[in-house]
């Protein structure tokens, strides 16, 4: 079995367990042909969408992925500050962006992406109780996690941060950035090591960090053991 086939099998097996509906928006760039038909204008978008359709097609109809063109939705793009394609957005029922992906969920990133879909859909989230107990101590925060496809520690950090965001009732937003695909962002933050986690553009956590460290960085002080 090829590596791609193996990954498809994993997606198929895991997505079949999704029991709650969820909608994701994916922004690409589309141009209009002379005959009026639409054609994707961004180089990676076709492959990106094909990958996401594998998730959708194996979800028993629970996952719906809507592809939108950034060109045809300028107001939406402005509202969510969309400047890059392809971008995946997890938007909650109050219209708040919870998770943003500037990365293709493939290879090692499959598991945390599926996990994010599940917890965002409302399935059990291991960190939820503790995040909710500490919500009053957490300021509205954006956590950026810079990753690369070959980084073995990145999926763990992505999983934790996205689960924190899903449990935070809109207080935490996570942005997952593949810096091989977005090198300018890596350069902007002088990141030459991954995972590279930045909280509110202030605190930087380099390398593998666990959930307690990320929670501590969000709260900015001692965290008591709470059950």
């Amino acid at each position: 079995m090829s590596q791609d086939d193996r990954y498809k099998e994993i997606i198929k097996a895991e997505m079949a367990k999704l029991s709650k509906p969820i909608k994701l928006k994916v922004f690409t760039s589309q141009g209009t042909e002379a005959d009026g038909s639409k054609i994707r204008a961004c180089m990676d978008c076709g492959q990106f969408m094909a990958l996401l359709r594998v998730y959708e097609e194996n979800s028993n109809g629970m996952l719906t992925i809507k592809e939108l063109s950034i060109d045809d939705n300028p107001e939406f793009a402005k509202r969510y500050d969309l400047t890059r394609v392809p971008t995946i957005l997890f938007i909650d029922n109050k219209g708040r962006e919870v998770i943003r992906y500037l990365a293709a969920p493939k290879g090692g990133e499959i598991q945390p992406f599926i996990q994010s879909i599940f917890t965002f859909a409302g399935m059990p989230n291991y960190y939820e109780a503790t995040i909710k107990q500490n919500l009053s101590r957490i300021n509205p925060s954006t956590i950026k996690v810079m990753i690369t496809e070959t980084c073995p520690y990145c999926p763990q950090v992505v999983q934790i941060v996205n689960n924190f965001a899903s449990a935070s009732d809109g207080k935490i937003r996570s942005i997952i950035i593949d810096i091989a695909a977005n090198p300018d962002i890596g350069q902007y933050y002088d990141a030459s090591g991954v995972p590279y986690t930045i909280i509110n553009d202030q605190k930087t956590l380099v390398g593998m960090v666990g959930a307690p460290e990320i929670l501590r960085a969000l709260i900015g002080g001692n965290i008591r053991v709470q059950y």
Binding site: Y126, D190, V225
Partner: protein, 314 residues
């Protein structure tokens, strides 16, 4: 692997066995425990452990050559096939309550009749000026993670072990030049890797040298040798060995050697009944994935025996 399976797992119950760790030792142990029909949970900070940073594993029997990540994906598939729950968390303390243990994390209190400590080890730091300041900006402990940032650049690997040699060989595939900077007179790599290093034109070894400072501006620009020489480069990969992750069990009275490794016997038992240890965190002299798995499997069997005994006592 992740808490997708939490719908079917009651985290409040008392598990027969909780395995701490996420590397091959821990997963090997959990696979055997599940086959012994034990109620087992794995709690690890990092799935895969340190071996995932290894570019190529070529000494795991029956698998000629595979990346560390690839090997651990196979472990994960095997673990998933047995529906073994894995939680990504870090246990902060253990209470020994006689007939069971309580394991506390920031997120959950777990209960178990037995524990296997397979928390492995973490990379040693040089503890020199600049090391922390440039972490993620030119200082790295993982070539697999960060190697791609140094395409056509000059880097150094600090250390002379087999791991250091393998890091250098991996980096040599993409960088312009790799210097191995080692305090000793001859690198200690396995003969096969030593030969690969010697024959790689991109790799040069600087012997009998320590670095005492890492310098730069936004990113690393040079290192200072102990003879005072400033050596210009773009990245420093530190590979000077590891220290066991054993602090967690010190307060419970688990006996350790002077390196902080947990002392175990041939049954992977520690001096505390019900607590077992295996792999890099234990005091075995030869630390390999295969030996860790072996100790983990023995620990699973010993825990199975132990739980069977205490269940009879109930």
């Amino acid at each position: 692997m992740f808490n997708i399976d939490l719908e079917n797992v009651d985290l409040e119950k008392t598990f027969d066995l909780i395995v701490l760790g996420g590397g091959p030792t821990a997963i090997g142990c959990a696979i055997y425990a599940a086959r012994f029909a034990m109620d087992v949970l794995v709690v690890g900070k990092t799935f895969g452990g340190l071996i995932t940073t290894t570019h190529l594993v070529e000494n795991y029997p029956a698998i000629t050559s595979i990346s560390g990540q690839g090997l651990m994906e196979m472990f994960r598939d095997h673990m998933n096939s047995l529906n073994i729950p894995y939680i990504s968390d870090e246990i902060r303390s253990i209470d020994n309550l006689g007939d069971h243990f309580e394991l506390n994390s920031f997120f959950q209190k777990f209960k178990a009749k037995s524990i296997v400590i397979a928390t492995g080890s973490e990379r040693k730091k040089l503890r020199i000026p600049g090391e922390d300041d440039f972490a993620g900006r030119g200082v790295s402990y993982c070539a697999t993670c960060d190697g791609p940032f140094y395409k056509d650049k000059v880097v150094a690997v600090i250390g002379g072990s087999d791991s250091a040699a393998k890091e250098a060989l991996f980096l040599a595939q993409s960088v312009k030049k790799v210097y191995i900077i080692y305090r000793g007179k001859e690198i200690r790599a396995e003969p096969i890797n030593k030969q690969r290093v010697y024959s790689n034109e991109k790799i040069e070894i600087i012997y009998s040298t320590n670095i005492k400072e890492i310098k730069g501006d936004n990113s690393v620009k040079s290192v200072i040798f102990d003879n005072g020489e400033e050596f210009v480069l773009d990245g420093v990969f530190i590979e000077i060995g590891s220290i066991p992750n054993s602090d967690l069990v010190k307060p419970v009275g688990v006996r350790m050697n002077d390196k902080g490794e947990i002392i175990i016997n041939r049954k992977s038992e520690t001096n505390i009944p019900g607590i077992f240890a295996a792999g890099d965190v234990a005091d075995s002299p030869f630390k390999q994935a295969i030996t860790g798995v072996s100790e983990g499997v023995i620990a699973a069997y010993s825990a199975f025996d132990y739980v069977k005994e205490i269940n009879i006592e109930y």
